[in-house]
């Protein structure tokens, strides 16, 4: 396979360059300390730090409206429907941009310039948002969220691509886990701190009002500037590493072909429905959660913000643990059913009882992490590799479309009918996801049960694939170079394509961009 051979070349070049450095001027060794040497672990840790903080600003500022809901509504005289527009406008650009993110990063800008550009969008968007609040112009705030949205999601793709480029093999899981934790940390810090920031600014300015709101949001924009600085530093370090190690710029490896949509199997469409039905009951709910806890459960504003952020706090440690568990046991469909039922239970608890909401929100946090770990990898099991980019792009696109529409609907429902009807609406969305996952279970069962295989069964199939791959690798080496693309597909590659359709997990070194895509949207 072309990828495998490319990876072989890179590894050989790595060996050559490092041996070359050792062999030639030994002065080269003395000039670069461990922290400056891109091939050494310490330098990669430094790069990892910058990579993690790259997404911090975007996640911090995404949930600013939720953390300041009462203040935004009061200072700008909005109703809840207009307030939720701030979330809808974040999602609208991503309906289209999900398809082009990979393309822009690979072909148009390159990963380094692309990351800097998207960070710039995030920063400028948040500044426009804050300026809109400062000047009491709601349309300007919507424009700011739109610009912020253009940068936000694509920045996550860029962050993933950097990770895949710098860290390979077993380290990659740890890196993704750390990136996810940093993202969640950003959301949590935002929820718990912005209220305090607003009060301090109000005390300094004298009274609350849209000036105070604008100033608080400008302070939040500082985190975006910080992320922009990280992007610049990362770009510099990556360019330097490319020069020293002679490796190429990372690529997302996504190929989007919209005509592939007609080949999507029924199971994939069911997975799309599950994705939309589930996430629209999580994010708009967190957006409106603070006032719900204040009104229904008589929490103080600080307490309400804390319980609202518990979903993010739990998902930071739970995602790597649950991901490990799902990897070890397999049976993804069963885990998805568990997660959906648990979320339904949590929403029913919040709607129909006065039980302590910490219980329901903790359950929501665990089930949200579980679903992310079990659902997104399933796409890789039902879709062949060359269509994976299209499938993920489509999934994110309709997810964002659903979020945008339901955010507005949720605001309108709350304004006219109150919280119980809103919660029942969210329960109905989860029930749609539940219907889809039950159908998925049966469709998959009838088709042979590939999605719901245990990890042991999957590993067995994979072992057979690699042993065949080893046997067939030697003859294919003769067709290296440009001619390799023109030669007919070998039995090896044909078998791999077949096995990838079955859902056999190919080892990481066979397809780096596969693992990148599989984790790409765990950040959502």
């Amino acid at each position: 396979m072309a990828d495998f051979e490319e990876q072989q070349n890179l590894l050989e070049e790595d060996d050559e360059s490092s041996s070359g450095e050792r062999g030639s001027a030994s002065g080269a060794d003395r000039q670069m300390s461990a922290i400056c040497d891109p091939s050494r672990a310490l330098h990669r840790v430094v790069v990892l730090t910058f990579m993690c903080f790259l997404g911090f600003g975007s996640y911090f500022c995404y949930d600013n409206p939720a953390a300041l809901q009462t203040q935004v509504i009061q200072d700008l005289n909005l109703n809840t429907a207009k307030f939720m527009q701030l979330y809808a406008w974040y999602s609208w650009p991503n309906v289209v941009l999900c398809f082009f993110g990979g393309f822009l990063l690979d072909r148009v800008f390159g990963i380094r310039l692309g990351t800097i550009i998207f960070s710039l969008f995030v920063c400028v968007g948040q500044v426009i948002f804050a300026a809109g609040a400062w000047l009491d112009l709601f349309w300007l705030m919507e424009v700011g969220r739109f610009v912020f949205g253009i940068g936000g999601e694509s920045l996550a793709v860029a962050q993933n691509t950097y990770a895949v480029n710098w860290f390979k093999g077993k380290e990659l899981n740890l890196v993704f886990g750390l990136q996810l934790s940093m993202a969640r940390l950003g959301s949590t810090v935002n929820m718990n701190i912005m209220g305090w920031v607003y009060n301090k600014v109000a005390a300094a300015v004298g009274s609350p009002g849209y000036y105070t709101l604008g100033a608080s949001l400008m302070i939040a924009a500082v985190t975006c500037v910080f992320s922009l600085i990280c992007a610049l530093v990362l770009g510099f370090l990556d360019k330097r590493a490319e020069r020293i190690l002679h490796k190429e710029q990372g690529k997302t490896g996504e190929v989007i072909k919209l005509t592939d949509v007609k080949d999507f199997p029924l199971t994939l469409w069911l997975i799309f429905i599950i994705c939309v039905g589930y996430y629209v009951a999580i994010f708009p709910f967190i957006g409106l959660g603070q006032v719900f806890f204040i009104e229904k459960f008589n929490f103080s504003p600080a307490e309400a913000r804390a319980v609202n952020s518990i979903v993010y706090i739990i998902s930071a440690p739970a995602s790597p643990v649950l991901g490990f568990m799902v990897d070890k046991t397999g049976r993804n469909v069963v885990w998805v059913i568990t997660a959906v039922v648990a979320t339904l239970a949590a929403h029913v608890m919040l709607a129909f009882t006065f039980w302590n909401p910490w219980i329901a929100m903790s359950l929501l946090g665990v089930s949200y992490s579980l679903l992310a770990c079990a659902l997104w990898p399933m796409v890789a099991f039902v879709v062949p590799e060359h269509q994976l980019g299209t499938a993920y792009g489509f999934m994110q696109s309709i997810q964002n479309l659903g979020l945008a529409l339901i955010a507005m609907a949720a605001g309108a429902i709350l304004d006219s009918r109150g919280y119980l009807v809103l919660e029942v609406f969210f329960c109905a969305c989860i029930c749609i996801a539940l219907i889809a996952v039950v159908m998925l279970y049966f469709v998959d069962y009838v088709k042979g049960g590939d999605l719901n295989q245990s990890a042991a069964a999957r590993a067995k199939v994979q072992k057979e694939a690699t042993s065949d791959a080893e046997a067939k690798r030697r003859p294919s080496k003769q067709t290296q170079g440009d001619l390799a693309r023109l030669a007919p597909m070998s039995a090896f590659s044909l078998r791999n394509r077949y096995l990838s359709r079955l859902g056999a997990q190919l080892p990481d070194h066979c397809s780096t961009h596969l693992s990148s895509l599989a984790y790409r949207s765990v950040l959502k």
Partner: protein, 400 residues
Amino acid sequence: MAPAVTMRSNRVFVVLLVLLFSFCQSFVGGTKEYQRKLIVSVNPNATTLPPGGDLLHVRAVGNDDTLHFLFCSQGAPTLLIVHTNSSTSSVQVNWPQFLSRNVSGGLRVEPQSSIQYSIAVVFSRLLEYDDVNDTAKPDSGFFPPYELQNFKWTRLQLFGAAALVCGKTPEFVNGSLCLKLSVFDSDGRAESWPRLLHSPNSSQLEVWLDGITTQAPNSRFLLELQAVGGDFPLSRVDVRQFIDDEFTPSIFKVSEWVSPAAGGSDVLGYVQWKPVAYRQSSPALEDATPCRYSDPQSQDANATAASSALIRAFFSAHNVTGLNVSFGLAGEPFYNSTKFLSWTVLVGVGAPPVDTFSPIVLTIMAVGLGIPVILLLLGGVFVCIHKRRQGATAAYQSIN
């Protein structure tokens, strides 16, 4: 595995059905449709228009009992409800005695022996305080109170079974305090927020402050209510929580100022309200402002009788308790932001009405939870059939 799943889901389905039916029954089919015939008269048997304020009398006749609703703005606006166990009881007004406000007996319900229970609510004072630090703590900064008995009240305006009266005082400049009483002949729910559920045994009073010029820019208001209960005074306020805020979005509590019967569990009469006031006449969700109440305390019975003609005329010996309802919390906008504040209260005899779910909520939950269960059942059955069919044909062995 599939048969076990089917069995379990069968049991779950049956349990769900049972729950659903008992749910429906308890919430939808519980109340009986009860109606009263309403007869409205203003200033009954009066030869001339009484100066200062009108007396509204609504007779709500049931099968074997009558409720007399009396509303008068002579002095402080007062609502009096008398429950008699005869459907032919009537109200006799001795107008000279009534208007002199010196002795009791000016208003009698005949026959006297048929009176079961009587409850009266007096709106005695409106208090204004300057909330300089925006703490909404009515401790200090009080301006001289507005005594509602000294207001100049307009004539009663009738709209079917509803009556409107407005009062002014020179300090208000152009503003007014209005009261609207609605009496009902059947169960139902008001159209405008807070959409309190009412029964034929209750009446709804809306109070609103419109266009008042405040003494300070950061003023907040308190309304003082006094309740006269005869033998059974309104002694405590119960706060009930419920999960359905469909009719009053974001409000999950209802406060009931009740007069408990001897024995303690039954309730003879009530004043019910939701702890919310609205800052616009056609409010949206963000116009809601919370309100709090103080504990009921005994009041001077003579002072109350002196302030209200209706109390003086009807009650000879009575107990009076009073409480304050304060509008606004720390951080909420002040009265001056919209110059409008409205609050609604339900006064009635017997037990207060209990809110129920609307059919939409029940339908959505039933459909939403029922379909996956049905799908599980159908899928289980289908898989069973599929397996049996597969088992029948010769099974191909896989080669490797």
